[in-house]
Amino acid sequence: MKFISMALIGSLGVAPAFADDVNEIMDADSDGTVTVSNVSGSVEVQGWSRSQVEVTGELGSRVEELIFERDDDEILIKVKVPRNSNGGISSDLSISVPVGSSLQVHTVSADITVSDVEGEQELESVSGDIETEAHASDIELGSVSGDVEVQGDNQSIRSRLNTVSGDIESDSLAGEINAESVSGDLSAINGSFERAMLNTVNGEIVYRAALLDGGRMDVETVNGSVDIEYDGDVSARFDIETFNGSIRNCFGPDSVRTSRYAPGRELKFTEGDGSGRVTINTLNGSVRLCKN
């Protein structure tokens, strides 16, 4: 039998014979809080209908212990590692929690993947990617360099999505969204918002969702481009200003120079009954404004 030639990149070698397998379960409140802390590896959380929390997976060979404790309505799951560890701490956890739980996950480089959790979610990582489903409750997702991806189901909630350089993608969120990045790209697709705040320094901003009547949208970027295509009609007063960027719009009047002597363009107009308010400010970013 010929063994497969493995590329250097992506080869994980054989699982060390001494990595610990985890398989523990305990009773939990059906709507309690579950807090997970894992430095590196991965964290997968899925909601289930049992009033129990189950943890399975593999701990790195240098992990000191897995803490799995309950304090009334709170469950804590923590991978404890030696202070200045160099290797052997990467742990993969797969956690099932009651579907009504609130969830807090903190990692350094471990990726976080969550599904079927209806309670509030606070998911943070330094460099791990974060992927989750939003349902009935508010979410707060933050990563420094990892990407953030959230799939909503059109229920009205508050979403805060924050990165330094990772990209942010949301699909079918509704209610309020506050998405910020320095150099990551933001995109909010589908869904409908009463309040949308989208802010980057260099990242691109793409919005392909509805803005409800009376809704408020604030978009600001220094160098990123802004690409908005409203889903359906929009009723708002528009105030768009750029210093060096272009403004291209599919509806409403054309933009005008703000001053005869200095650069800068602006576009101020009212669409529909003007009940909402949209402001867009950029230094160098181009702005495209359309609706479908």
Partner: protein, 194 residues
């Protein structure tokens, strides 16, 4: 193959393996690039990013009449109050003696906030991986450059309200990013309650 052959083959294998430990001369001289890196002026890591933030104070800043400053807790974190420059702060344009025209300054409140936040972050960054630290520093550099660019534009057009708003917001972004990185790292690595 019978057992004996297996053992012989295995022994041969190990003998051959040992021969592979002979030193190998690289195809090209790798020293020049190494020398370039190690001869570069040494900047101690800590001071490297201190410098980035020290520049924050030196860079042309905005004056906010302190009557307009409001203190607000940063979201999600009740333990420290960081002054946020109120977007509606009255900006005071102060002519500066000399030929350089106007300058905008951020008041001492901002300076204090900046110092607190950057001290905390300094410590966190030291414990991050080099890649993560590099990522954060590069992005703070991005913000600094954006601030410079806006200031340069403001120098030409000091009354430009869009530019003033962008400048204030970008300063706020910088504080907010530093605070966020500090908080994420702290939660992931240091909190003893989790």
């Amino acid at each position: 193959m019978n057992r004996n052959d297996d053992n012989n083959f295995d022994d041969e294998l190990m003998a051959k393996a040992a021969r592979l430990s002979k030193p190998v001369v690289p195809k090209r001289d790798l020293w020049p690039e190494i020398e370039q890196v190690i001869s570069a002026p040494v900047v101690r890591e800590r001071s490297a990013w201190n410098t980035v933030w020290a520049q924050a104070a030196a860079v042309i800043l905005l004056v906010g009449g302190s009557s307009g400053m409001t203190y607000m807790a940063m979201s999600g974190d009740g333990d420290s109050t960081v002054p946020i420059i109120d977007a509606h702060t009255q900006l005071v344009f102060e002519p500066v003696s000399g030929s350089f025209g106007s300058q905008y300054f951020l008041g001492p409140d901002y300076q204090d906030a900046h110092r607190v936040v950057s001290d905390n972050l300094n410590e966190r960054l030291a414990d991050l991986s080099p890649e993560a630290r590099e990522e954060v520093l590069a992005n703070i550099e991005t913000i600094r450059r954006a601030i410079d660019e806006i200031n340069r534009a403001l120098a030409e057009d000091p009354g430009n309200v869009l530019l003033q708003e962008l400048l204030i917001d970008t300063y706020r972004d910088e504080l907010s990013v530093m605070k966020k990185v500090d908080s994420i790292s702290n939660n992931a690595m240091y909190r003893s309650d989790i």
